[in-house]
Chain length 366, copies 2
């Protein structure tokens, strides 16, 4: 997508296969900074500290972590060890484990000398696949929005279709296009009158800092609200659809996503607002059941401290509550399938009952 | 309640009836500052800027605003005008209008010369009534918690009864004791093992800044969570009861309270967690229907800017998102009666169906 008229992806590597470049998402929205990641260890830090985040993007970042590890030492033991270290960085999103296992499966049968160049090629291929999947999600979601546009009533720029989203499942959460935001970009580009309610998304404020930033860059009308506000807006008839991303979807259709997603799903259900999950197939975990998903607990400082601009224009990091305040900070919750209207995948829109058929067709394609 | 072993109320006046003193709640939790309010205009600023906030407290603050106005000029026209100006400060909480109208009804029949001293007396009487009501709410709520304690299972300090609350309905929201927190203080003082999940409560963070502060002062175990977290905790069986306050309750049992209350009520209902509203009778509006309640919209800066401590220990006000970010900031939502388990009033615990009988008995007492 465009930043200051220049096309960007969230992650890319140099032609000589020496380093990876990323956008440092912890510096947005006030500073646009890219980092050159030259070692395996640097990439692990980038994943853990959420300089790169979003389920699809950390999958690709994990693949590149393995490529960097292979550049450093392409032995069997180093491959196994670096794979395990990478997967442990973020336990909840399935894409990371999926991508790293795919790298392992691809590299382990090869001679050590062949591994580095194959690793770069495979990581780059996964980045491309992500872009294609998200573009397809955008097109399938666009059709859904067009149907909704005609269903709800005639909409105009002054009275647009209102979509609510939680956290950031935009192009910053992927390599490009995004998952939940892909249909929105497609709709905007097709001149549909569309407006996005952006949940602030505490504790890390990915909605206010990332989703609002990327929507603004692309010119999509949007409004930031507190996480508490979406239910009230639905009661008032001001939300026509909810679209969120996911960190892991079970074959039963349960959706693990950013903490607070469940509350929006409850409100959507209570107000007859369609609730869709945009999800590329690597985010579907065909093995796990919802109660076995490990919910990552992150540092209390994510809630107690925030960064922002001082009146003088500098960046400052401040503490919102006394250091001794007890805090619990689980990063994800699980929305039960019964609250989900459907899944927007790269293969089309399916309901929970259709996930089994989707798995069958994906396995046969593979 | 105690602050550094010294008993405080949130509002009081001097013996010579010249001024009112308040705790400036916008400076908490990092600075404990009291202000001397010497004029009607100063009190309006204190109410609008939320130096005093919480439905019961702004009722009493509104009564004192009229006392200050009568000190300045006790004419009929000044009484009517100052009453209208006071009510307009905060449209959603019914207590403010209720308190100001009671002052008007009391003062209007009197000769102008008699109004100032009666105004101080009546405002002080309302403060006392609030304290008595809240103490009674605490006792009725305590019984509810004791019943719940035995119902859920044997609880210990290591495995306490978990109550979730939203916003601040503690003693800082009233003259003393609080509404939603009154039962919790009563339970803690009765040596019940109790722990409070404190919603941060964006955008103004009253949970993290005020509720956590006052619970810590009183030694009640608590944990601050993001507003997104309560649903997940309920799914995990970690919440035994929700207790919130209210800014206005209709006779149908619909509850207008801090934005986000509705989402917690939905999650409580979905997980069979009892959801109680602690409400002194002046907060019940016997006239209005839910759809006629005016929802106050506040400044975008409440969401986009926050205050906190810098690493150097000074207070700083920073901006979380670019100034051009579009923001909507409704301060309240309405939780439908069907999601409410009951109301903890100073007259006892009643369900929605019992509100009509409560009204009848209150009218007959009056």
């Amino acid at each position: 997508m465009l930043i200051n008229q220049q096309p960007y992806r969230t992650i890319w590597h140099d032609a000589a296969e020496r380093y990876v470049e990323i956008i440092d998402q912890t510096r947005l929205p006030f500073e646009f900074v890219t980092h050159r990641i030259t070692s395996f260890d640097m990439m692990l830090v980038a994943i853990k500290s959420m300089q790169v985040r979003g389920a699809p993007l950390i999958g690709v970042a994990g693949a590149y972590a393995i490529a960097l590890a292979m550049k450093e030492a392409p032995s069997d033991s180093h491959l196994s060890q670096s794979a395990a270290l990478t997967i442990a960085c973020r336990p909840t999103a399935v894409n990371l484990a999926w991508a790293v296992q795919r790298m392992q499966n691809k590299l382990m049968p090869l001679a050590a000398t062949e591994r580095p160049s194959m690793a770069w090629r495979e990581a780059a291929a996964m980045a491309e696949e992500d872009v294609h999947q998200n573009r397809a999600i955008g097109q399938h979601g666009l059709k859904l929005l067009q149907d909704q546009l005609f269903e709800v009533k005639a909409r105009t720029a002054a009275n647009p279709l209102n979509v609510l989203t939680h956290c950031n499942a935009g192009w910053l959460a992927t390599v490009d296009y995004g998952t939940a935001l892909a249909p929105i970009y497609a709709a905007h580009d097709a001149d549909m009158p569309i407006h996005v309610w952006v949940d602030e998304t505490r504790p890390r404020n990915q909605g206010a800092s990332l989703t609002a930033w990327e929507l603004a860059r692309h010119g999509v009308p949007h409004t930031v609200i507190s996480d508490n506000t979406g239910g009230h807006l639905m009661q008032q008839g001001l939300v026509d659809m909810v679209i969120v991303g996911a960190d892991r979807v079970t074959r039963d259709g349960d959706v693990c996503n950013k903490i607070g997603t469940y509350l929006k799903a409850l409100a959507a259900y209570d107000n007859h607002v369609p609730f869709y999950v945009a999800v590329p197939s690597p985010t579907i975990d065909w093995q796990i059941r919802a109660d076995a998903i490990e919910i990552e607990h992150r540092q209390p400082e994510e809630l107690s401290c925030v960064s922002g601009l001082t009146p003088e224009g500098g960046l400052s990091h401040i503490r919102l509550m006394p250091a001794e305040t007890p805090i619990l900070n689980p990063a994800f919750d699980v929305t039960p399938a019964r609250l989900v209207s459907g899944f927007i995948t790269e293969h089309g829109v399916v309901q929970t009952a259709g996930l089994a058929a989707l798995e069958f067709s994906i396995r046969n394609i593979d």
